[in-house]
């Protein structure tokens, strides 16, 4: 019920907002988001972290039994943490939209609540189709948020976002359903329970797994986004309203990584092992290329958007390292990227609200004008750069560590102590130190482009857009007051940023609880991979079970 209420409450609030008056929409929405947050915190307390690898708060309601579809929910620690991330960003997004949204307010907040429900649904789903439903349903609210409240080129951005991700995920659906069919074929019963499908998927021969991998990645890698499927992202981010960008960067991209973690790795372990290297190369290209592209942007928001491409390259790199450090790092990276990049988008949105431009050619040296804003910006930039002591570092380091460790070459040739004798810290895998080293240059490039941004926007001589009221007058900022906003951040805005900043520091200084919590699920994933490594490449096909007998036996308890 815990999880069901986490989905129902935002939906109910969406309904309230839809039927309520326009004026109170923002407030109701804030209450709704806070209620969701409260519930999720409650869930976090009720969760037995000692058994983080098990799916808790399980519930299952038959939905469309003809299809074998159930509404089944459950979270392990990874999923719960992502739910928490979603819940935390919710109120922040509402606060960020407080003054920015002036038209069709009801529609905005109602969709925001719906989006929140859908995102939580993705993480809480234990049924493949229910997962997919939530996964896809995030598209509509996001499409509307961008198309209705975005900037000039919003329609193109929204359409591209929708179609690109929709196309990918339809192919992914084919892959997922193939697994479900395989289960039906071998077990004689149609079900979409993820656990059952996981077991079934692993009996698939490697070349079929490769096809599954391809199909799933086509869908999920678009969402992540992995190079070269990333081009919708900068556009969508630039055009989206602030809260849209925050959710997009903070949670929606995590849907992709989470889906890869949840489905690609367990469904096609052998294929992932086989193709880890080319995938890691794609990640690495994303890291470096994304970073370099960031560097030459003039639009701040686009810069941060491209930085997501680079950052999630790290996240995926850790995932494809397929070892403990890598996968742990990847999971942490999901959380951390959500916080730090989300906050960066918030900050840029606050700036945009004041200056109505995001071009670094027009603005600069805001440190003098908006010290509080600047402080936050530098802080989150540092979190984003991966400064140890802030949250970004932990994930990044572990991802790199995973990639570095994961090489079958340890113990052979140059890297060998004695031939054939692997090192203690190395793991099986096909990535290895060179990949880590090349990907590691991403650390440098991240510093280059983010500091470039800070140098332009925060530091240097003060530049404000022409025609901006305070250009001539040092103490003015009349334009801001006209818009109801002071020169520097308001308490509401600080209230939106401060919790994220606090979380960033906490996760950077004491990531231990999170690290501990994700160990059990990660252990499960890594064990799956390890088992897959042990399997022979060629094996006889699985025998078809006679349908009649197995129908009863295979039925889900």
């Amino acid at each position: 019920m815990m999880l069901a209420s986490l989905i129902i409450v935002p939906l109910a609030f969406a309904l309230f907002i839809a039927v309520g008056p326009e004026r109170s929409a923002a407030r109701v929405s804030l209450v709704g988001m806070l209620a969701t947050l409260g519930l999720s915190i409650l869930a976090a307390f009720a969760f037995d972290w000692g058994f983080g690898g098990q799916f808790q708060f399980g519930m299952s309601v038959d939905w469309l039994p003809g299809l074998g579809l159930t509404l089944s929910l459950g979270v392990d620690s990874v999923a719960l943490m992502l739910v928490l991330l979603t819940a935390v960003l919710g109120p922040v997004c509402v606060l960020a939209s407080w003054t920015a949204i002036t038209e069709r307010v009801k529609t905005y907040y109602a969709w925001m609540m719906v989006l929140q429900a859908a995102m939580i649904g993705v993480f809480a789903a234990r049924d493949l189709v229910f997962f997919y439903i939530c996964f896809e349903f995030t598209l509509i609210p996001m499409f509307l948020l961008i198309a209705l409240y975005g900037s000039t080129n919003r329609m193109r951005a929204a359409t591209k976002f929708f179609l690109f991700t929709f196309t990918g995920s339809v192919v992914a659906l084919a892959g997922l359903l193939y697994v479900a069919w395989h289960h039906a074929q071998t077990r004689g019963v149609w079900t979409f329970e993820i656990d059952a499908l996981e077991l079934a998927a692993r009996t698939l021969p490697p070349h079929v797994q490769a096809l599954i991998l391809g199909a799933l990645l086509l869908g999920f890698a678009v969402k992540v986004p992995l190079f070269p499927l990333h081009t919708w992202l900068p556009l969508a981010h630039t055009e989206a309203p602030t809260a849209g960008s925050v959710i997009l960067a903070g949670v929606l991209l995590k849907l992709g990584t989470y889906a890869i973690y949840r489905f690609v790795l367990p469904f096609a372990p052998e294929a992932v092992i086989e193709y880890a290297y080319p995938l890691a190369v794609l990640c690495t290209i994303g890291i470096i290329y994304g970073g370099l592209v960031c560097w030459v942007q003039t639009d701040v928001k686009k810069l941060v958007a491209y930085s997501s491409v680079a950052h999630l390259g790290f996240c995926m790199l850790g995932m494809f390292a397929l070892n403990h450090a890598g996968v742990t790092g990847s999971v942490l990276y999901m959380l951390n990227h959500g916080l730090s990049t989300g906050a960066l988008f918030l900050l840029i949105g606050m700036m945009y609200e004041r200056y109505h431009t995001r071009s670094m050619k027009e603005i600069g040296g805001l440190g003098a004008r908006m010290p509080v804003w600047s402080t936050f910006l530098v802080f989150f930039v540092m979190a984003s750069v991966g400064l140890p002591g802030l949250n970004g570092f932990v994930g990044e380091f572990l991802c790199l560590m995973g990639a570095f460790q994961a090489s079958d070459a340890w113990g052979a040739g140059l890297w060998g102590t004695t031939p054939g004798d692997s090192t203690v810290g190395g793991t099986r895998g096909s990535l290895g130190p060179w990949v880590a080293a090349v990907a590691g240059t991403g650390m440098i490039i991240a510093a280059i482009y983010l500091l470039y941004m800070v140098g332009k926007v925060v530091f240097g001589t003060l530049r404000e857009p022409p025609g901006h009221a305070s250009h001539a007058d040092h103490h003015a900022g009349d334009a801001h007051r006209a818009a109801g906003l002071p020169v520097d951040l308001t308490r509401r805005e600080i209230g939106a940023l401060a919790p994220i900043a606090a979380l960033c520091v906490f996760l950077g200084v004491y990531p231990k609880p999170v690290l501990d919590a994700v160990q059990a699920p990660v252990e499960r994933t890594v064990t799956t991979i390890a088992e897959a490594r042990g399997k022979p490449k060629f094996r006889p096909p699985v025998e078809l079970a006679p349908p009649a007998e197995h129908a009863a036996e295979g039925a889900h308890p």
């Binding site: 919708w232 440190g367 140890p388 810290g425 440098i444 231990k512």
Partner: protein
């Protein structure tokens, strides 16, 4: 406070002999040191809060001084209580998790301190100088009271915090935390005058160049983990001492001792501005001078030295000392290289910057030449005397509106209120030049002597390194006293600079933009065109006065106040007193005095071989003479070229204005060499042309590729349906017969298809 500690030294030296370095397991303890980060955090938080709380006074500064002093006391107490061996103070578990019970199945990155004498040695001067320079800053930054003050002291305290973590870490991961933390603070503090584009660029450069090295460090960490299955010093050293990795395989001739030291070295070189990485440090002089003194001279830049000293067992474990040879050679080359630049440029703060690079080169050479004690001792002495020098330069800068050009200042020591500054400068200069009897003399000597005695079988061509270092010693003495003679002696002449403080408050001179102003005045790094207006009466600017009319009023030099003077005095005294450490007898080491004892008791201990026996003279005895000679020669040349007429010039000098000297006549004869040296050998330009610009070019190309190719392909794929649709559209002509023909044709085609399938 430090001198009190020094009084206690003899008693401490008599403490029980150490045998802890022989591999006894670490014991818990030293919890007092947890106070250091706690106090730093407290001070940082207080400073940070003082901004929003609108505290517009020096309280945050004083509070920081108190906290840092408290930290120093904590370190000192720990030191006093420390006998030998290693204690581990456990704070909390940071990045710690395990996925198995075997070796290499857990990552342990605790927030815990590894307390041994090496740690304490570093911590003593880090916290001590930290407190001292904080005191200096209280006055130096007085104009920025308010938000700027908060920002400054926040970063300052975070710096000490990070540096403490770096030094005291009990594992490489926490070291990396500190490592990056000091980088951040360095960035924030170099960019303190954030409205100056030069400062912003310098800050960025510092951070990015450091990051390049950091990548090496990270990879080194990872390689360490792979080989040893741990990042904690204690288990690591146990394995290294045993000469095996975690699998029990010998490491002496394996990749472990080749690759890891090189990777760590890359990190160390980045942080300590060696060889390819040095370019950020001169630019870092854009920061406030106390920052340059503490971070870019005394402490942070020695982190690289510390890292190698900390990991010395691993370096020493290599059978051919490949990494150490490289360290030594890189150090020596850097020392010479930056000394040549230091000789030719006119910005005294940058002279000090290049001198720092050069001295760091010494330290690395010392490490590489198997003289960790020498390196550590030089680090210590350098910390004091270079801090002194910087603080003195800072006082000058503070007093003359940011003027740093040694051709625009003269006779400063003789001006009212600048006496202490002059004396402090002299103390520092003597130390830096290695004049016999000074601390600098002894520490440098240890390295040089070791260079001549290290056998070539252990390090590649150690004698050559030593000769390079010796040459550098001479050049160092020259450029140090060149600056001293020109600025502090001679006729009293000055031209005030364009003070950052004015800019900080947003008062642009005469409404011009900063960029234009800089262009007019030729200020900024790399601007060394002839300053023809020097002798004339130029616009002079008052310090900190709003109603000042530059055309009518005279500029008043602004002599330092009590805080600056006090810190200067203490620093100078410490620099002098450091020499005494050399003579402290310690039961732990045969040479190197107190520092030797500290090093010998730590993991960095290395029993350096001596193979020098020319006429039965030990290398040290020989070196005393040779290096004294070289140093004095350098000073004499400086005096000849730059000293004013009269006694100050040791009767060699000829200068009678601020701007001119005998060197002016000499320089053209050197031709290109002088010009190129003054242009810093065009290294920045080279980097710009061969690294930055191409990279940016690649970035632009990537951006285009992204727009045209990647996104273009996506758009093309997206447009494909519409394209196909346009091809098919004519079939919907609206003509009934067309449709009928289409249907009939379709039927025919389908029947054909079926026939094909059948056959």
């Amino acid at each position: 406070m430090l001198h009190q500690a020094l009084h206690l030294l003899p008693t401490l030296a008599a403490a029980p002999p150490a045998h802890a370095d022989s591999g006894a397991a670490a014991t818990p303890g030293g919890q007092l040191l947890m106070l250091v980060p706690a106090l730093c955090v407290l001070a940082a938080l207080f400073s940070a809060l003082s901004g929003p709380l609108k505290i517009r006074s020096k309280i945050p500064g004083y509070f920081s001084v108190a906290c840092l002093a408290g930290a120093f006391v904590a370190v000192l107490l720990t030191y006093l209580g420390h006998e030998s061996g290693v204690k581990i103070a456990h704070g909390f578990e940071w990045i710690t998790f395990k996925w198995g019970d075997g070796p290499g199945q857990a990552l342990t990155g605790n927030f815990a301190f590894y307390v041994d004498s090496l740690t304490l040695l570093w911590m003593l001067f880090v916290t001590g100088l930290g407190a001292l320079i904080a005191l200096y800053s209280v006055e130096y930054m007085a104009d920025d009271v308010g938000l700027g003050y908060a920002r400054y002291f926040f970063a300052f305290n975070i710096f000490v915090l990070s540096m403490s973590c770096l030094v005291m870490a009990d594992n490489l991961l926490l070291l990396f935390l500190g490592w990056e933390g000091v980088g951040l603070c360095s960035y924030l503090l170099i960019g303190y005058f954030y409205k100056k584009p030069v400062a912003v660029a310098a800050a960025k450069k510092a951070f990015i160049v450091n990051r390049i090295g950091d990548l090496g460090l990270v990879l080194g960490l990872l390689a360490t983990f792979v080989a040893f299955g741990t990042l904690g010093y204690d288990p690591l050293f146990a394995m290294i001492r045993a000469g095996v990795d975690a699998k029990g395989a010998p490491i002496a001739d394996s990749w472990v001792t080749d690759v890891i030291p090189l990777l760590l070295m890359a990190g160390a070189f980045g942080k300590s501005a060696q060889v390819f990485f040095y370019v950020w440090l001169p630019d870092a002089m854009e920061g406030p001078t106390p920052v340059s003194a503490l971070i870019h001279a005394a402490t942070m830049v020695t982190a690289g030295v510390f890292l190698i000293a900390r990991m010395y067992p691993l370096y020493a474990a290599d059978d051919d000392h490949m990494a150490l040879s490289l360290v030594a050679w890189c150090g020596a080359i850097t020392a010479l290289w930056s000394a040549t630049i230091g000789m030719s440029i006119f910005d005294i703060k940058r002279v000090m910057g290049y001198s720092t690079i050069s001295q760091l080169g010494y330290m690395f050479a010392g490490l590489g030449l198997l003289a960790p004690t020498g390196a550590a001792f030089h680090t210590l002495t350098h910390a004091f005397f270079k801090a002194t020098l910087f603080l003195a330069v800072g006082a000058v800068m503070h007093g003359f509106g940011g003027q740093l050009d040694l051709r625009r200042l003269s006779g400063v020591a003789r001006m009212r209120g600048f006496g202490i500054v002059g004396l402090a400068m002299l103390v520092g200069s003597l130390n830096l030049s290695g004049v016999p009897g000074t601390a600098g003399f002894f520490s440098k000597d240890m390295i040089l002597a070791q260079g001549f005695s290290t056998p070539a079988s252990m390090i590649e061509a150690p004698q050559a390194i030593a000769w390079v270092l010796l040459l550098t010693a001479g050049l160092t003495a020259y450029y140090t006293f060149r600056a001293f003679f020109r600025v502090f002696t001679g006729p009293v002449e000055y031209l005030p600079g364009d003070d950052e403080h004015l800019l900080e408050h947003g008062r642009h001179p005469k409404g011009t933009t900063l960029a234009e102003w800089h262009k007019q005045h030729g200020h900024g790094h790399g601007h060394d065109h002839a300053h023809t207006e020097l002798t004339g009466v130029a616009a002079r600017r008052a310090h900190g006065r709003k109603d000042f009319d530059p055309t009518t009023e005279e500029f008043d030099p602004h002599p330092p106040g009590w805080a600056i003077n006090a810190s200067l005095v203490i620093c100078a005294l410490l620099a002098i007193a450091a020499a005494a450490l050399y003579f402290v007898k310690t039961p732990h080491a045969e040479e190197g005095g107190w520092v030797g004892g500290m090093i010998e008791r730590s993991s960095a201990a290395f029993h350096s071989p001596h193979e020098f026996n020319l006429l039965g003279i030990t290398s040290h005895s020989a070196m005393y003479l040779v290096s004294a000679l070289v140093g004095l020669t350098g000073i004499a040349v400086a005096a000849f070229l730059h000293a004013p007429k009269g006694w100050q010039g040791l009767f060699l000098g000829s200068r009678d204005t601020a701007a001119t000297s005998r060197a002016d006549a000499l320089t053209p004869r050197l031709g290109r060499v002088a010009r190129w040296a003054r242009a810093k050998w065009y290294v920045d330009e080279l980097y710009d042309w061969f690294l930055v610009k191409p990279l940016r070019g690649i970035a632009y190309v990537s951006s285009w590729i992204d727009k045209l190719l990647v996104d273009g392909l996506v758009d093309a794929a997206g447009a494909l349906p519409a394209r196909v649709g346009r091809v098919l559209r004519p079939s919907q002509s609206g003509v009934l017969h067309g449709y009928a023909a289409g249907m009939a044709g379709g039927v025919a085609l389908v029947l054909l298809l079926v026939l094909i399938v059948l056959n």
